[in-house]
């Protein structure tokens, strides 16, 4: 199977995500102007772009946390915007999402965080839930941390608990919002490795929102560069890294001078 960039991607059990003509204004300012993107099953795509360019807004549209002013998001051909609440929740059971802030439930222990979805969305017995929680925590290297509270964890550990929680339901689509932001380079590499392993093992479709090009290089099949509310460029990580387009090249090189004029 090939992706939008003509690159071969592994056959996945994941879903096809199709974003068509997406527009979104926030506070009277257009954030997404006309986003079109097709993500075939099993592909890991990186969405990159400057801070505040709308990457996270785009990701939230993919799972129905935000609704477009115009355009649509299709999951395996089904329009999210036309689903009933029950259908939407059923579709969301196929997703796993890691938030930038990890978004762990701070009144619940690590085990309760990971178990929550299993307890409420499956018919698993208590012992089956416990063993699934232990398995998920083991996958992210946090075996034996079940009873700790989120406030007792470091940033890297929180991200890994967030990952364990995201994979608890064996999702077909995984969404990662800035998975390595705020982490030191070593912990970033660890998180990248864990994400790579999980995506490969579960054979999911994955969308990674980041501005960390190292993350993109290590886990993505394809990269889409979001700029001024549209997908400005897309291609394999090496194509984007070696792009001769001045805008893309300025972003990749991280230069202050160039066609992108940051407002101070």
């Amino acid at each position: 199977m090939t992706n939008g960039a003509g690159m071969s991607v592994p056959e996945g059990r994941g879903c096809n995500i199709s974003i068509e003509g997406l527009r979104k204004n926030l506070g009277g300012r257009p954030v997404l102007r006309d986003v079109n993107l097709n993500i075939p099953p099993g592909e890991t795509i990186g969405i990159v772009g400057r801070s505040g360019c709308g990457k996270s807004v785009l990701l939230k549209h993919v799972i129905g946390l935000m609704w477009p002013d115009d355009g649509r998001v299709l999951i395996d051909g089904q329009d999210l915007g036309l689903m009933s609440q029950e259908e939407l929740y059923r579709t969301r059971q196929r997703f796993g999402m890691l938030f930038q802030s990890s978004a762990l439930f701070d009144s619940m222990s690590v085990a309760e965080n990971v178990a929550l979805s299993l307890v409420h969305n499956t018919e698993l017995s208590a012992s089956e839930v416990d063993s699934k929680v232990a398995e998920c925590l083991g996958t992210v290297g946090l075996h034996g941390q079940e009873e700790r509270m989120p406030s007792e964890l470091s940033g890297g550990m929180k991200k890994r608990v967030g990952l364990a929680r995201a994979v608890a339901m064996d999702p077909e689509i995984m969404l990662f919002d800035e998975p390595t932001t705020g982490l030191d380079p070593i912990m970033s590499a660890v998180i990248d490795e864990v994400i790579s392993e999980l995506v490969e093992r579960l054979k999911t479709t994955a969308v990674v929102v980041t501005h960390d090009m190292r993350t993109v290089n290590s886990i993505c099949h394809r990269v889409a560069f979001l700029h001024r509310g549209v997908i400005f460029a897309e291609g394999t990580p090496s194509e984007i890294m070696n792009s001769e387009d001045e805008v893309v090249a300025q972003f990749i090189a991280g230069r202050a001078d160039g066609p992108i004029r940051p407002r101070l």
């Binding site: 799972i63 946390l65 609440q85 978004a103 409420h120």
Partner: protein
């Protein structure tokens, strides 16, 4: 240094108009929230653990505060009544005056105001923090309905527990009045309770419990409504907490008057 700019006079009408529109949008959102919460009741009753937890947090844990405050409310009522009546009416009527005032007015209103200070604020702060730290979004992505999981248990716990708290408060306040009447004003036990019985009517208890039920809904709903729509980080959570308790207090007094007009 001037931190906030006042709206220029030419835009004052526009500003006022926006506030009016926002008010009516808020009313609409409140009505939708109430309907959504009510629609979750059957599911909540099928898995009552969430409701029982909140009944404990909102109801039982408010009990010591309510008992303490009610005891002194009754005591000060007796002291005031004794002082006011000493030259104009027989002191044997203190029991009657306290019984009537506590059952119809002081029990429900003071309990509701005290519980609003404890519960509306705590609900608004908890849900507000969950909103700004993306925990509610995380719940949505895990296909767990936050209205069912967070809002409905708090609303129905407030609705079910306030009548219990008001009943306890009423009994304790009358007891507090008796203590002062008996030991400081030198009224016999029989005289005091004969006075309470003299003006007692079962319909007064109906009014007492009707007020309690409505105030319970107001207290919980203010916390849920302002917590649920919090935005803007820590400042937003603080503002939501203030809005919740102020709105609850104002609505308690407004509905106290409406119920009195309708039922008396």
């Amino acid at each position: 240094m001037k931190l906030r700019r006042e709206p220029p006079p030419i835009r004052a009408v526009e500003y006022l108009g926006q506030k009016v529109v926002q008010f009516f949008i808020g009313i609409g959102q409140l009505v939708i929230l109430v309907l959504e919460i009510i629609s979750r009741l059957p599911r909540l009753l099928r898995r009552p653990r969430l409701l029982i937890e909140q009944m404990d947090l909102i109801g039982l844990r408010s009990l010591p505060l309510v008992i303490f405050a009610s005891l002194f409310t009754g005591a000060v009522s007796a002291a005031q009544a004794g002082y006011q009546m000493q030259d104009y009416a027989p002191l044997s009527l203190i029991g009657a005056a306290i019984g009537k005032a506590v059952i119809l007015e002081l029990g429900p209103v003071l309990t509701a105001l005290i519980v609003a200070g404890r519960v509306s604020t705590s609900i608004a702060a908890e849900l507000g923090t969950m909103r700004v730290t993306e925990q509610i979004d995380a719940m949505e992505t895990m296909a767990i309905d936050p209205i069912w999981f967070l809002a409905a248990p708090r609303f129905f716990a407030g609705l079910f527990m306030m009548p219990v708290l008001v009943l306890v408060s009423t009994v304790v306040a009358i007891f507090g009045g008796y203590i002062v009447s008996h030991f400081l004003i030198d009224i016999s036990t029989a005289t005091f309770f004969n006075g309470v019985k003299m003006l007692f009517a079962m319909y007064d208890v109906v009014i007492n419990q009707t007020k309690a039920l409505i105030f319970g809904g107001i207290v919980a709903l203010s916390g849920i409504f302002f917590g649920y729509r919090t935005g803007g980080g820590a400042e937003g959570v603080g503002q939501a907490t203030i809005n919740a308790v102020v709105t609850a207090a104002v609505l308690i007094l407004v509905f106290d008057y409406i119920i009195a007009e309708v039922m008396l």
